[in-house]
Structure formats: C-alpha cells, structure tokens
C-alpha cells in the first residue's frame, strides 16, 4: 500500500454560502490544464481550415462592416481608417462572444462528467474560457498585420493588449458563470445565448464609435463591461485619449457580476448532478 495521504474528506449537507474552493481547484490544476488542451485539440479537428477559423470570423465581419457600415459618415473615429477601427473592436469582441458561449454551455456539454465523477465544477467554465485565448492571440497577430498594411506601427501601448484580453475573459467568465449555472436547470439559456450575443454586439461600440452615444446615456452605456474593454483595446492598439471613466465603470460592473456569479455558481453547484 502507498503511504497514507492523510487526506480527510467530510461530506455533509450545507445550505449556506461556501468559499471559493481555491485550494481544491489548485489540487485539480492538472485536470484544468487537460480540459483546456482537450478543447483546443478537439475544436479544429477534422476541419479543413483548422486554426484559420480563429481569424476568419473577425476578418469576415470586418469586411462586411467596412463595406456597408463604414460608408456612413462619422460612424468610426476620424483619425483611424474604418477597417482598422472595426477590426480593433472585433478582435476582443470575438474573444468575448466565443468565451461567453463556451462558458455558458460548458456544464451542459459535460453532463456525463458531472454525473459520474467529482472535481471542482468551476474548472469547466474556466477551462472553456481559457481555450479561446489562443484564438485571441492569433487574431491579435492578424490585427498587427492589418495595422502594418495601413502603414501604422503598433505603439508602445500595444503591450496592454494581453491585459485587456484578460479583462475580456473575466467579463465573459462573469456573465458565463451565471448562464452556465442557470443552463443546468433551464435549457432556455442554450437558445437565448446566440440571441443575447447578437443584442450585445449592437449595444457595444464594435462597429460604431461611442462618441455617437448621447451624453445622457453614457453612464448606462459604460455599465456594459464590453464598452470599457473595446474602448480600452482601441486605445491600446490605435492610440487616442485613454477612456478612463468608461474603464472604471466597466470594471466595477464586471466585478459585481463576477462576485455574484461565483457566489451563485458555488451555491447551486451541489445540485448540478441532480438536475442536469
């Protein structure tokens, strides 16, 4: 026999709030790593274009936006060619949209794991979100190439891109935790997500500049965390004034959604296996 591990597990019903279980997640870090790795491996398996799909989506949207919306006077920022303006919004947007949908469906897609084996359930939305970071990195490289084509050398602020990518992921996770947990119980969520993402796209300054939003709606507009993310991303990639208030409001909103999402997730987590 192996030397006793000295592990002691106590199982008892609990109705109150429970901690984050960070220690437990650390113990299962190898599983988290494998889940991300699995998602990456499987995503583009048996596809003809492979990882090119990571690029295709933002680029195709950029082309459509530029061809039609780009013709409207004053929709973008005057100093920036519209295709670059759109792409710099679409790169974080794609990361957000994919991570959100991945996280929201992560539990339901792993039904058989949840009902057959124990592990910290938070690993599922976490790993779903993490796996899209690779796509984001590829898309960021494409953004750099597009900038060079338009004769713009990435500024020093471009170093903020990874941090803003992380911000995007946290926003997606914050909302995704709520949706994933609700999805276990109500499959309506599954159908609502594509619709929600579509609505959200129009409510965020991806295709248009936030300057178009009337002053009176500004605060409400910034409560949408994606406003801060996209404006920040544009600042990092293309320069301009730093959107300080917007970022602060967006970050505060994200923090509130995230804390609530974590608490809700941990609270209903113990019934996942019974209701999924």
């Amino acid at each position: 026999m192996n030397t006793p591990s000295g592990e002691l597990i106590v199982i008892r019903p609990s109705r109150g709030w429970i901690g984050l279980g960070a220690l437990e997640m650390w113990k299962y870090r190898d599983l988290g790593y494998f889940l991300v790795w699995r998602d990456l491996k499987v995503r583009y398996k048996q596809t003809a274009f492979g990882a090119a799909w990571a690029v295709l989506q933002p680029v195709a949207l950029m082309l459509v936006f530029s061809a039609f919306l780009g013709q409207i006077e004053g929709i973008g920022a005057s100093a920036i060619p519209y295709p670059l303006f759109a792409l710099s919004g679409l790169v974080p947007w794609t990361l957000f949209a994919q991570s959100l949908s991945g996280a929201s469906n992560s539990l339901v897609n792993s039904q058989n794991l949840i009902s057959k084996v124990y592990f910290p359930r938070l690993l599922l939305p976490l790993s779903a979100v993490a796996s899209y970071v690779v796509d984001f990195l590829i898309a960021s490289v494409v953004l750099v190439i597009a900038m060079l084509l338009f004769g713009r050398v990435p500024p020093a602020t471009f170093l903020w891109v990874p941090i803003l990518g992380l911000f995007t992921v946290v926003v997606a996770l914050a909302v995704g935790l709520w949706l994933a947990a609700i999805n276990v119980r109500y499959r309506d969520v599954k159908y609502a997500i594509p619709f929600l993402i579509q609505l959200w796209l129009f409510a965020s300054p991806v295709a248009y500049s936030s300057g178009l939003v009337p002053e009176t709606l500004r605060v409400l507009f910034s409560v949408n965390p994606m406003t801060g993310v996209i404006e920040g991303f544009r600042w990092a990639a293309l320069g301009g004034p730093f959107p300080d208030t917007t970022i602060v409001v967006s970050a505060a909103a994200t923090l509130a959604i995230l804390v609530g999402g974590l608490a809700y997730f941990r609270r209903v987590e113990r019934t996942f296996a019974d209701t999924i």
Partner: protein, 427 residues
C-alpha cells in the same frame, strides 16, 4: 490516524418530485407557477412530493476492507455511492472519508471520441484525479494492461471497437493510486478474458490493503471479491455482515428471489416488441423452485416468453451460465435454431436441465437471452445475471463424497462423474 476508512452517519438524500424537480424545467413554467400561486410558500410544496432515495444510512468500513453493496434497482445503492464520491450532496447526515478517494462509476469517464488513445489515457486519468506525473509514470503499464496494440495509440478512439474503449478505460482506472476505491457495476462489461484480468487486478487491489466499496448486481462477483456486504432496500441498509449471509438473506427475502424473476408489468418487460420475457426461474427435477441445490441433483432453468407476431424463423432462446468469478461456464440453446418452421403468436416455456454431478459447488449466475433471425440476428432480450443459484456439496447428500477421504473443497468449475478404470498391470 484512525483505522476507519469510511464512516457514514445518518446519510439521507431527498429528491423533490413533480414540476419543481423537472430536470428540463422551463423558465416560463416556473414563472407561470409563481403567478398562479404567488403566495404558496416553499415549505408547503415539499410535504407529499418528497422522495427519500436514501434514508438514515449509517455504517463504518475499516481500512483495507472490501465491502459489497447489493440490493434491487432503486434501493439506493448508486445514490449512496454518488454521495460518497461527492458527485451529489446529501440532504441529511454526514460522511467522513479517510484517505484519497477514487470512484469509478463508469468506464472511460472523460473519454473524447476525437482524441487518440494516448491523449485519452491522459485526459481520463486527469478526470479521475490523477496527476500528470502519475499518468506518465504508469502509462506503459496502462497500455500493457489494456492489451491494446501500441500502434493504435495514435488513432482517435472513435475508430476503436467498443471493447477496446472499455479496456483502455478500465486500464486507466485500474492504475488509480487511491486508498479508497468505489466501483459501481463497471466490471460487467468487456470480454471475458479482460474481465478476468480486471478481477485479478481487483483482488490485487484488495490485498494491497486498500479499501473497496463495490456495487454490483452480479452476486457471484460480489461473493468472490468482498468479504463483507451491505444489503439495501428502499434507501436503507437492512442487513450487513459476512457476504454469504447477506446474499442468502437477499435471495430469501419475500419479494426478492433471484431463483425466480417475473415481469408482470408489460411496460418493464425485457423484449423488443416482437418477443418479450414474461418470467424465468430455476427449479428442481420435481418442479420445486428454490435457490439451493445439492451437487447430486439436476437443476432445471426455465424461461417463459411471449411471441407477439407470427415469426417465420424459430427464435432461439439461450442461457448464459457464469461462475462466481464471472467466468463463462457454458452457453446453451436448443439445437433446432434457425429452423424454418417459425412460431405463431402465443406464450412459450423453454426449459433445460443441467444434470446432477456436473457443476462443482458454488454460486452460479444465469443470463437469459433470445435471438430472432428474421433479418440477420437480432437480440430480443439479453438479461445478464438474472437468476442465481447455489450448488452445495453436503457430504450427507453425496455418497460418493463420503467414500472419498478428502474433506475439503474440491477445486474446479465442473465436477463431472467420470468413469474410471483401474486395473493391475499384468506382469
């Protein structure tokens, strides 16, 4: 450190029935329910819609013990295992597990069809709680145990046969380095050769001082692996003790009699709509249904089935007899199979007699099956381990045994009465 590996105190699991518990509940239903009865309090809803899948279960399992959990479907066995493996939470009571736990409720947990054999070994290992380094250390052993040709390891498992998948899945699980192992019914899969290897591995695990909790319908398997047993009924533990006693109690219970099964309820009858199983039983030569037979006695196995429509080719019943280690002893079916006479709708009884002085003493399990041949071979039903019987070798019953000087158990699956000739050689 205490020497108790698992301690359960008053464990209970309550499920709420009805709309509230609908697993695919729609938001609109809940909202409209709230509108229709906005002032109904939560507590009022519970009373009659509660169902206790597990109730007041307490026990202690010492370190290094192998304990079987038996009982009918719905007795709470799997719920208990799910609580102990932390998949679901108890509604009442508590449990303490002392040591690293691995639970195996399914073979090949976490397998992804698109990934290769190698990748799935790592993934499944991680899902079951192994660390990367551990998997790497045991990788060769795992592949070796699974018996899968290393040249297939880079092929996606979706191209594996189901047998290969099961073997690889079990091989990973067999190398879990845990002090407490909980296993649910998973050994009932795979081919016989592999099952045997799994049983060998399980024996090894038991002897290595690890604690095992084993849920199975296959009583002979429980008997061969576990020295102690718990019998569950209606969510409670109703008996516990040495395995043979508990199994006997289970089989002599009022409703439960593994020497005879009936399917009175049409909806739950095994079958494919064309032929269905009505009942199966084991009886003595004199037609007395019982569980225990003397080694010298013939044992008759019968099944009653209903043919619902006219069949052009005679369907073929068959019986699959396995011993307490899960080894196949034999499969038998009538000789006139594939017969073109066919069968008209009606009820049929098929019976076959195993002669006395044929099987050795021990616990045997019988699977009942029926195949149709209208278009290729189709299995109408195959109920594994449906019937169980015990052959005992009492010296009092067996004159021949009385003559022999050996008083201990005679090994072997069969104990045929063979004709011997012993003559003094002419000098």
């Amino acid at each position: 450190m205490t020497d108790i590996a698992i301690r359960a105190e008053g464990l209970g699991k309550r499920y709420r029935l009805g709309q509230d518990q609908d697993p695919y509940g729609r938001l609109s239903e809940v909202l409209s329910g709230k509108f229709r009865a906005p002032f109904r309090r939560r507590a009022e809803r519970h009373d009659d819609a509660d169902f206790w899948a597990l109730r007041d279960v307490s026990f202690e399992i010492p370190e290094g013990a192998a304990v079987g959990i038996i009982g009918r479907n719905g007795a709470g066995k799997s719920t208990l295992l799910k609580i102990l493996s932390r998949i679901t939470w108890p509604s009442a009571g508590s449990a303490t597990l002392n040591g690293r736990v691995a639970s195996l409720l399914e073979v090949g947990t976490g397998f992804h069809p698109e990934l290769s054999g190698t990748e799935n070994v790592y993934l499944s290992g991680a899902v079951l709680g192994m660390h990367h380094a551990e998997i790497r250390r045991y990788f060769d052993e795992i592949v070796d145990f699974s018996g899968i040709d290393p040249k297939f390891l880079n092929t996606p498992v979706k191209r594996y046969s189901s047998g290969m998948q099961v073997r690889l899945g079990f091989a990973v699980a067999a190398h879990l380095q845990s002090e407490i192992m909980m296993i649910d019914e998973v050994l009932a899969v795979g081919d016989i050769e592999f099952q045997k290897r799994c049983l060998g591995k399980m024996d090894e695990v038991t002897n290595s001082g690890r604690t095992i909790l084993f849920v199975s319908h296959q009583l002979p398997m429980v008997a061969s692996l576990c020295d102690r047993c718990m019998l569950m009924e209606g969510g409670r533990v109703v008996a516990s003790g040495p395995t043979s006693e508990v199994i006997h109690r289970y089989q002599s219970g009022v409703n439960v009699n593994a020497a005879s099964v009936e399917f009175p309820d049409e909806a739950n009858r095994p079958g494919d709509g064309v032929v269905s199983l009505l009942s199966a039983w084991i009886e003595s030569g004199a037609g007395e249904r019982r569980f225990e037979y003397a080694l010298v006695e013939p044992v008759r196995i019968c099944l009653r089935y209903r043919v619902h429509e006219r069949l052009k080719i005679t369907p073929q019943p068959s019986l699959h007899v396995t011993d307490s280690s899960g080894n196949y002893v034999f499969v038998t079916s009538p000789h006139d199979w594939g017969d073109e006479r066919g069968r008209s709708p009606g009820d049929y009884v098929a019976a076959v007699e195993i002669p006395g002085h044929f099987l050795n003493d021990g616990l045997y399990s019988v699977g009942v099956a029926l195949n149709r041949f209208e278009s290729g071979m189709e299995t109408a039903f195959f109920e594994k381990g449906t019937l169980t019987f015990n052959i005992v070798d009492r010296i009092a019953d067996n004159e021949l045994r009385a003559v022999s000087r050996w008083g201990g158990r005679i090994p072997g699956v069969v104990r045929p009465l063979l004709h011997w000739q012993v003559e003094e050689e002419a000098r």
